[in-house]
Symmetry: C2
Subunit: 341 residues, 2 copies
Amino acid sequence: MDIRELARHLGLSIGTVSRALNDRKDVSPATRQRVVEAAAKHGYIPNQSGRTLRSGRTGTVGFMLTLEHDSAIHGDPFFMALLEGLQNGLSEHDLDLVVLLARKGEDALTFLRRHVSRGTVDGWVLSGTQHDDPRIPFLLDRTIPFVALGRTAIARDYAWIDLDFEGVMGDAMTLLTEAGHRRIGLVAPPATINNSHIVVRCYRDALVSAGIPFDPALVHHGETDESDGEATASELMAMPDRPTALLLMGETAPVGAYRALRRLGLEPGRDVAVIGLRDNPACRALSPDLTCFSLDLGDLGLALARGLVATLPGHTKDTEPPVQTLWDMTLRLGQSHKVER
Amino acid sequence: MDIRELARHLGLSIGTVSRALNDRKDVSPATRQRVVEAAAKHGYIPNQSGRTLRSGRTGTVGFMLTLEHDSAIHGDPFFMALLEGLQNGLSEHDLDLVVLLARKGEDALTFLRRHVSRGTVDGWVLSGTQHDDPRIPFLLDRTIPFVALGRTAIARDYAWIDLDFEGVMGDAMTLLTEAGHRRIGLVAPPATINNSHIVVRCYRDALVSAGIPFDPALVHHGETDESDGEATASELMAMPDRPTALLLMGETAPVGAYRALRRLGLEPGRDVAVIGLRDNPACRALSPDLTCFSLDLGDLGLALARGLVATLPGHTKDTEPPVQTLWDMTLRLGQSHKVER
DNA sequence: GCGATGGCCGTAAACGTTTACGGGTATCGG
DNA sequence: CCGATACCCGTAAACGTTTACGGCCATCGC
């Protein structure tokens, strides 16, 4: 069922049918309704390739997911919940969401370039932003709409939303330093990820204002998953003057850390203070309750959707500046940080 | 940069350029190489819409994700790990994977129909198969390639892979009945999901062969998530003659069940036996260790990719029957089932 | 030397839309 | 009654590919 066949059924030209279905003004209300009803009756749905080829618009936005740091994905419930909010936000503007997975080992920029010149989507949501992410200038230079989940070190104006790591680190570090901890182990994301820099900077700032010397041996960069959390926690606790507290900025890293501690005969929340990043299901399963931070991923997805839509041509006022938001996370006190010193 | 411009650079016709890039035979090796090199040099990548419009092929397969049962997705690490394997399997055949999220509240068949007539992908991976899933006959009747993750009650020949719930339930039930349990609470997936029927059937079969009467009050249908696990566990334990064992066929349901039990002053693995479905990160965080089942999601994704590719035109031998595989899950004994009766 | 064969390549017609453009009819003001 | 103005609608040219078809040239066998 083409537009041609539908037009023949209606005794109209395909041009008129197209205009009627696309809500353009050059068509009388009567025929518009007739066309819409006939389309529904015959189950006509425009072919996307033809439409895109001519108009250049696809009606979809892409969420780019790279499996490079697979621990950030593998078993990571963060994105799934986020995608739901994103889809809801996009639905309001009749946009579809497609998640594009970079092929194993494929470079992120190559992947993006491929899909951009293919013209698969109208706009992008970028995640896992690197410190100096080449995707940002690439898209900016071509004026392709996008919103980034995560800041970068790039000093150009674009839309982004990032978690408030400053707030998180501030809350966590005051909690620990005020409890008397002076040796605090930090597990930060991989050094290429931009968050990693922010986390370490805040860590040092907090130490300075508490008058505690900075020991680089206490800072590890690792993936966000369980097994890496276990490995790095083991290493940190094997130090001669081992830390009395652990700060784990990874999704399921605390699960591994608990296991590592117990293997050494140490109980989280009694012998060692532990603070995690997000209260995902895995962390909620821990006992004693993990002290960590929470956020509404559905809302975050919605905000990303709005931020992106504002950059799309047609939808935008063209004047307002791009969204640049630090997303609050609220501290959830559990038992795991309560270690008297 | 289109094919026309590239052809002009080379002094060739666009037809020849197209044939060279698509590895067709009607072109000399010398010019083929010349074309490929020029394309690489100028960064030419064929426009997907034009290509699809003419050839009908997209080079992508779609993974359909419905947010209907959002608890099956929300915070569910199952799919993320699966997608990685799927992408790896598809890469071997130069296929891209796109994940298509049904809009909130949109009917699954409507969603599928929309994307099929749009022609967004060459083939489909269906998940969350219903007992009588209308998507199956829809795709079969149109001879659109697909593979289903999950069986249905539909007696037609198509490619599917499903978890071996028969094996899982058999192992779990013998473990419990041989330990003397006679009142076993079951939390099965929502009744519309096909797995739910299988699980309940196996549950009854196991009871019969152990000579235990079937009590429908012990069977609950719920989502697979934490909060639902907590709610149903609470309900089951509030019964006058409450169960001595819980069997939870949901991803993170055991996390909620642990919490519910402890609120009642009951310790999993000591007062009540608990068995879960899969050893995801959340379940691995539980203490005492949850007795449950494990599988390699990467391998499963690969198998799905192969199963789908075999149904795609061109790749297939056309003769071999579609894959129909029960995927083994191996029992991982923890501490949570050890309750002496 | 000539017809046949096969390897390469150019030509042009699709694929299904959107959209600029122009034309036809009715309405309206004068 | 006439010209101008809207309002609709049809026409046709794109958009970027793929691919059936035909043609040219060289090679080959006789």
